[in-house]
């Protein structure tokens, strides 16, 4: 066993071919570094800055960046933008990450069942996926977010409800192609239950595409949170998020452009990084770009 594993060079994850290919992908590494830095900044930043994110100083309203200890300036209430940016990052990254977990869970579950069972169950499930994809996602998310009680958890659920379909499609295609392989037939002959075959035998073999889709879903979830919070239906103040920091920034665009530019740059950096990582993982796992 060890001999075979050593020969293929895949005995440990850190010297597997996948890892090597990922490490050879410069953009993915850059994305990785940026995400680590951003996360560290959001976790540690608020403790290092002299101002609290909620501290209101009306005498220092609209200070441009680099005035005194307000490195990124202040907002219309005189709150420190840097402190708010880091606190907002915690919210946005957490919402993006949780929405990804939830939607990957839903998508994988639907995809595995649709792909393995096939038949009319598979047809109904995959048509439902198509149905959800027919709605412009923001219309659906806004209608739900406005109708349901807003709050970070509800926003996460709503975003996940609008982004599980891609994962479901990818997993379904993958499982459908794995279903007829010998190891699955062997499992059936051994009398293993359908659930066991689906989730213990097939699913581990489809993990590559799932990880890739999940990474890209984080990017999409962060963007979606930014959209709906910018429009005023996402995370509600005083809890800051990158999106709701931009809400209302447009009216100060002429007098205080940093209010709009800084949070948007943070969103772009975070989303770009996740997209870079996803792209690197796709190459590393050798997942074809178009799976459907």
């Amino acid at each position: 066993m060890t001999a075979i594993a050593a020969k293929s060079g895949q005995d440990r994850w850190w010297n597997s071919r996948t890892t090597h290919r990922f490490l050879g992908h410069h953009l993915a590494l850059l994305g990785m570094v940026m995400i680590v830095c951003l996360t560290l900044a959001c976790v540690l930043g608020p403790h290092l800055l002299p101002y609290d994110s909620l501290y209101i100083d009306l005498r220092a309203r609209f200070s441009p960046p680099l005035t005194g200890y307000h490195y990124l300036g202040t907002d219309p209430l005189g709150r420190d933008v840097a402190a708010r940016l880091f606190m907002a990052g915690r919210t946005s990254l957490l919402v993006g990450f949780s929405a990804m977990l939830l939607s990957t869970l839903i998508g994988t579950f639907v995809g595995v069942i649709a792909g393995y069972r096939g038949g009319w169950i598979g047809t109904i499930l995959m048509r439902t996926v198509d149905g959800f994809l027919s709605f412009p996602s923001i219309f659906l998310v806004l209608a739900l977010a406005a109708a349901l009680k807003p709050g970070p958890i509800m926003i996460t659920v709503v975003i996940a409800a609008s982004s599980w379909m891609e994962v479901a499609r990818i997993v379904e295609a993958e499982v459908r192609s794995l279903r007829e392989r010998e190891f699955v037939q062997a499992g059936r002959m051994l009398g293993l239950s359908g659930t066991h075959i689906m989730f213990r035998e097939i699913l581990p073999n489809a993990i590559g595409p799932i990880i890739v889709a999940a990474t890209l879903t984080v990017a999409r979830a962060i963007l979606m949170e930014a959209y709906i919070s910018f429009l005023g239906y996402g995370i509600q103040p005083p809890l800051p998020s990158w999106g709701n920091m931009l809400n209302g920034a447009q009216q100060y665009l002429n007098s205080a452009p940093w209010l709009a530019i800084i949070p948007g740059a943070a969103i772009t950096i975070a989303v770009t990084s996740f997209n870079f990582i996803g792209d690197g993982l796709r190459d590393a796992f050798d997942v074809r770009a178009d799976h459907s």
Binding site: P136, L140, L142, A143, F230, L246, Q250, L253, T268, N275
Partner: protein, 316 residues
């Protein structure tokens, strides 16, 4: 061809059915459900609400309510806005032109630039241009549309003063030139993401075509590279892109909603947000269903167009 048409039509009907079920679920998730509009009226007592429920048949089983709702949808009775009492379809119709204008012009920009970048990337594979286009596309996909809009307004309207910061036309000046002037910035902003997507797909489609036998034949015939590209490659590579254009519609609509908000563009997206702000649920539901139906129909049309142009699709 007839078999293909019937098959495709049935698929679309099933999809519309599922879309309507999803819409009905959303309608019932709204607090107060279909009666939400009356719940806001302080002169309505609980007794009134119950009587209304009885009258509108809302105490019947859900499936009967669904059939009733779907039947009225089919008949074109989409309810009335309770802001001004106008029929929902009329309200949508009034805002349709502005959105179509914005989406149309941005799609033209996206297709023109995206096609060029894609073909150039494929013919100069692994060049600096190709690399920059790849990275640029990924960054473009990551920029929030509304933020790009804000930056655009800051640079081109506030700092340089070249372009208007919003609205569809200057009041009192309805000339085509004035419309165009207002259209430039929002359509570029909306196009950005789609330039990125379009160029990536165009690149891989072009690469697919270039590696095919008939291109080799054309080369063997001694045609110039330029002629091969124009006559044999581009046309064939563009064919699958028609389907892509249909598939991109939901995300174009999403982008349009955000862009319209930033640029105070009087289209469907702004209507949606305004209606949400007034809890005008009949219009919100109307727009939700309208956009989904539009998407299903557009996908059907693009599939049929591709099948007419390319007989291979019909047979497979």
């Amino acid at each position: 061809m007839r078999g293909f048409l019937i098959n495709r039509l049935c698929q679309s009907l099933v999809l519309l059915l599922i879309v309507s079920v999803i819409g009905f679920v959303v309608l019932n998730l709204i607090p107060g459900g279909p009666l939400a509009q009356f719940g806001l009226d302080p002169s309505m007592t609980q007794d009134d609400l119950n009587r209304l429920k009885e009258q509108l048949g809302l105490n019947r089983p859900l499936w009967m309510q669904y059939l009733d709702w779907a039947w009225r949808l089919v008949q074109g009775d989409w309810g009335h806005s309770f802001r001004d009492g106008a029929s929902v379809l009329d309200v949508i119709g009034r805002h349709l032109f502005a959105t179509l204008l914005l989406m149309g012009s941005s799609t033209i920009i996206a297709i023109a630039i995206g096609t060029w970048i894609g073909i150039r990337g494929a013919t100069h594979r692994y060049s600096v241009f190709d690399y920059l286009a790849t990275v640029g596309a990924m960054v473009a996909l990551s920029i929030p549309t509304f933020w790009f809009g804000l930056v655009g307004i800051y640079v081109f309207s506030l700092q340089l003063g070249w372009l208007p910061a919003g609205n569809m036309y200057t009041i009192g000046d309805g000339s085509a030139l004035n419309y165009m002037h207002h259209l430039i910035l929002p359509s570029i902003v909306l196009a950005l993401v789609h330039v990125a997507i379009w160029s990536r797909y165009m690149r891989s489609a072009t690469l697919d075509v270039i590696s095919q036998e008939f291109v080799k034949t054309a080369r063997a015939k001694g045609l110039s590279e330029r002629r091969i590209l124009m006559k044999h490659v581009v046309g064939n590579a563009l064919l699958p892109m028609i389907t892509l254009a249909g598939m991109q519609l939901p995300s174009v609509l999403t982008g349009a909603l955000v862009t319209e908000t930033v640029f105070t563009w009087p289209g469907m997206g702004r209507l949606f947000l305004d209606s949400l702000g007034y809890s005008d649920y009949p219009v919100v539901m109307g727009l939700l269903m309208f956009s989904a139906i539009l998407v299903v129909l557009c996908n059907l049309i693009t599939d049929i167009v591709v099948a007419i142009i390319d007989p291979r699709i019909r047979l497979s």
